[in-house]
Amino acid sequence: MIKLLENLDRRWIFLAMALCVSVPILVIGLTGVTFPETPTPLAEAFFAEVDRAGEAKGRRANVLIALDYDPASAGELSPMSASLVNQCSQRGHRMYFISLWPVGPQMIDDSIEKVIKRYYPHLVYGEDYVNLGFKAGNEQVIKVMGIDLTTEFRTDVEGTTLSKIPMMEGITSLEDFDLIAEISAGYPGSKEWVLYAATQYDIPLVSGMTGVQAPQNYPYYPTQLKGLLGAIKGAAEYEFIVNEYIRRSRLEELLVASGLDPAVAGPLADEPAQIPAWTTSAAAASMTPEAKADLIDAATGATPGEFLEGQRRMGPQLFAHLLMVLLIILGNVIFFAQRRRGGSA
């Protein structure tokens, strides 16, 4: 057995990894079943910071969303971007998209198409969100934006001058933003936003990043980074929180619209499983059948696939990690067997 393992062709390892990744993808794709997520304080802090943006100033929050990554890292990071845009859209924040990576504009387009245009079609370009595109210069762009944003960005991605975009009124520098939300895959990324924006101008910053980057950014949490999402695990946790928040918000909206007292609607919205039974009670007698159906759908209906990508990818991750652990153990079994018989390690 040991001999067999010693001479194991690495293509068997590649095959095992391919199966560990592809089988869960297929199973989750067919059944839609995902593993339950328990959010860590880091993901909760990320959500809370986005949620409370602008509250101190008593206005709609201006959120600068920097998507600094490319397709290579999109598997890890695009679920974070989708959930971030989902939360900001639901919360009614103004979104200003930029990127310091050359292919970042495609990531921005992707988020806008998949989330805003599909699920929030009432949001108006130029009033609720704007795409400022890519700017070359890495951290220097952040530094100049801190002093004068219009020096760096004179037009949006479509070439419209900023003075003609309603939501750019009053935006002159980074200090006019209530929050910077950044999703990054390397340089320039989280670290540069911490050093040249959050620390220098005392602007709240939350960041999502790849697993490789996360260990280097933990020292900034929670002072300079108010929230941190690391890798697909962070994305899945945040996604779970945002999905629950959106389900609750929509339920509360529907309950209040049906004439229920907000003081009663709030606690009821916290318990979506109770909604179908509640619709048959006397308290819901005045509701129309359509309103009841909408309410049940909001409470028990499936979350759109775009907002489950992070949780779905935790399946392949689980089996890939288990395989890694198994391979490390097997490798060490061989190592100790070789040492025991005095062979080379």
Partner: protein, 236 residues
Amino acid sequence: MQILTRSIPLFITTVAGIVMILSAFFPYTSDWGKFAGQFFNILAAFAFVLGGGNLLKLHLKKISDQRPGWAYSGVVLVCFIVTLFVGLMKIGAYPNPTYPSVHFGGETQGSGSMFWWFYEYAFKPLTSTMFAMLAFYVASAAFRAFRAKNFEAILLLGTAFIVLLGRTFAGVLATGWIPPDSAFSGLRLENLSVYVMQVFNTAGTRAIMIGIALGIASTSMKILLGIDRSFLGSGD
């Protein structure tokens, strides 16, 4: 010639460095930083031209010398030239909705344009594939290289197991029986992995970061004072 190759670059470096330091610490000089930043951005744009030129030079040389793998250089050059041409000429780009009459005013990368097509059907799948292949190499490396040879390696292995399992549902399956509100909840794998990242990792990373920052400060000072001139490429 020393004026051109040494004195002027040194002067520019020193002035730019001092301006950036002043603009960071004195509010009255913050506009100087913006001015220097604009210069930097112009230089960054030129760096793209320089990078393109360098790429052409390297690969043309490889093709002309018929070095091993020269055909790949041919692929690189064809892709580079075609993409550059399509981007510069804005082939297939839609007119700008605000200024439809302005020639070349449309967005190059807009959905449906040729540039977008290159991105969606060539760049995106290729880069995703390259990144995904890492999983196979990491698995192979884990089998062949991750050995408990000494005490430090055992510590590293233990930490790797905690993080690998704690970052997935396996952690919950393995230690989910520990009540979350008990005194031992910290021993649940998902909590242990957070503890490892936030305490041990943070302490180590912070120490490295402080060391790097001190190194950068001292190197920067040497460059600004003209003591370290290695960046001029003269071997001084």
